[in-house]
């Protein structure tokens, strides 16, 4: 779907290249966290609590004397794992629902559209809180809540793509040649609908990182001592007068990651010229 030449074009623009570099750094830090982080994320040392940023603790320490930089690197693991897993589930389920609804139409389409419209006007955070109320707090619940909160978006987008593709002449021709529904959907419709959905999924991953952090900040996501950017800031609010860096750096990590995802997504959209296909969803 993205040729090597297109990819090179994206990476050669200042926006695309820089954001890709930032994203690669964040992902590498998350994957190789034990090798990159100078300290373990859970070693407490109350004597070193709330230390200013210094040469030995680049971002200072938190209220338990844990190295903030190390915790942010491990926190990238939590944030990225939750966001990417949740959005992947959401994209997979949303594509299946949207493709089936758009292709077959009828009562199934009506039912799917009704549910999607119902959730569409509700903000993701409210849907997530409603689900957390049912399944209880924790990292797995956060993942499920995020996956369901974004489901409507991918269902809607896939459905719209399939609806506009299924009346194309080539699809009609394939059907006349005797191709079955499965063949048409999987070989002809989905591959053509894939690009916008993947790009939308990438942009949603940025939103999912924020949603995960928000739930973590509320104390409903990752439970201690698991490092999570949102939960770190939540414990930092009590130290806001003496150790503001506990709030500043995790938030900066989120902001930099999400901005990079958005800029890279924008570069991809422009390179593939698919802005129109992402409209109205």
């Amino acid at each position: 779907m993205v040729s090597a030449a297109t990819l090179r074009n994206i990476l050669l623009t200042p926006r695309g290249g820089l954001s890709a570099l930032v994203l690669a750094t964040v992902i590498a830090a998350a994957v190789f966290a034990p090798f990159v982080a100078p300290y373990a994320y859970d070693i407490q040392s109350l004597r070193n609590a709330n230390l200013d940023p210094s040469w030995s603790n680049w971002m200072g320490t938190d209220e338990f004397g844990r190295d903030l930089f190390s915790r942010i690197i491990y926190g990238a693991r939590t944030s990225l794992t939750v966001a990417i897993t949740a959005i992947s589930i959401s994209v997979a389920v949303g594509m299946s629902l949207g493709a089936a609804a758009g292709y077959f139409g009828g009562a199934f389409d009506k039912a799917v559209t009704a549910v999607v419209d119902l959730t569409w006007s509700f903000p993701e955070i409210l849907i997530a809180l409603m689900l957390i109320a049912i399944i209880g707090p924790g990292l797995n619940s956060t993942m499920i809540a995020i996956a369901i909160a974004y489901l409507a978006q991918f269902t809607r987008l896939t459905r719209a793509q399939i609806m506009s593709l299924k009346n194309e002449t080539y699809v009609e021709a394939t059907a006349n040649l005797g191709a079955g529904h499965a063949h048409i959907i999987f070989r002809h419709l989905l591959p053509n609908a894939l690009t916008p959905v993947i790009v939308a999924g990438m942009l949603a991953t940025g939103d999912a990182i924020i949603l995960e952090a928000t739930l973590g900040f509320f104390g409903l996501g990752a439970q201690p001592p698991t490092p999570s950017w949102g939960a770190m800031m939540s414990s930092g609010t009590a130290q806001i007068f003496i150790a503001p860096w506990i709030i500043i750096f995790p938030g900066l990590a989120i902001a930099v990651t999400v901005i990079a995802i958005n800029l890279f997504g924008d570069a991809v959209i422009e390179a593939l010229d698919i802005r129109n296909r992402l409209r109205d969803v």
């Binding site: 006007s121 903000p123 409210l126 800031m233 901005i259």
Partner: protein, 308 residues
Amino acid sequence: MLVFLIKRLVLLIPVFVVVSVIIFMIIHLVPGDPIDNIVQIGSSPEQKAELVAKYGLDRPLLVQYAIWFGKTLGGDLGEAIILRQPVSALIAQNLPHSLILGSLALAFSTIVGIAAGALAAIFKDSWIDRTVMTVILLGSTVPSFWLGLLMILLFAVQLGWFPVSGARTWSALALPVLTIGLGGVALVARVTRVAMMDIARRDFVMMLHAKGVPGWRIQLQHVLRHAMLPVVTILSLRIGWILGGAVTIEYVFARPGLGSLLITSLNQRDYPVVQGCLLMLAIAVMLGTLLGDLVQAAMDPRVRERST
């Protein structure tokens, strides 16, 4: 217009029923027996049975739902387990704070967003445009609760201009409104900017230029006016999103309100309060969306006709 309003209201009924079923089910779907969340440790089986009977948990689910729904419509949302007050009283105390914050944030987002978007479109590719675009990028990507914390750090802790938290004075509203507003401003400004640039290319604008109408008049009287339609559309779609922002920000600024109440109750597993708050927030989102639809219909006859 009245027909439109009635139709939209009727459409909301099934939505309300579905939402109420989900919220009702919370107490039955949470891990563990709901009664175990209510009884004190060491209660005798008799006390437990008494509570089961009191809350009607021995009856069929559908009957329980019907009773709960009936009571809810009558304004009886049950009793808070931890706060030991009627849930309706708790909501009555907190709702005004959320309403003020939500509507101020909405007004701020709309007014500042339209102004910023219009300036960016009129002075396209200038430093004004670039500044607005940067604010848009930051507003739509920086987590709002972090922004709120930074504002507290800068304006309340360092400069001491505003109170750190609470809702005792009007000035305590400034930072929360700004925080929620920035996300809304980003959204509204982006749509305004794109819509105005799109409309500025239309034939009738060219015609106005040809007639010699001054540029600023074309922009303000014609282009901006036509650009309002997509702005109202996106606002009516995303009104709940701004209200959702209020939920988060109340908690950050430790303001009383439905959002703070909901999150505190979720952490304490005070399920009757959770149910009450979620129901009120859902109603707020539905009414907000309805309001957006009505404004849209009032502005654009095509919207009215499409649904009749």
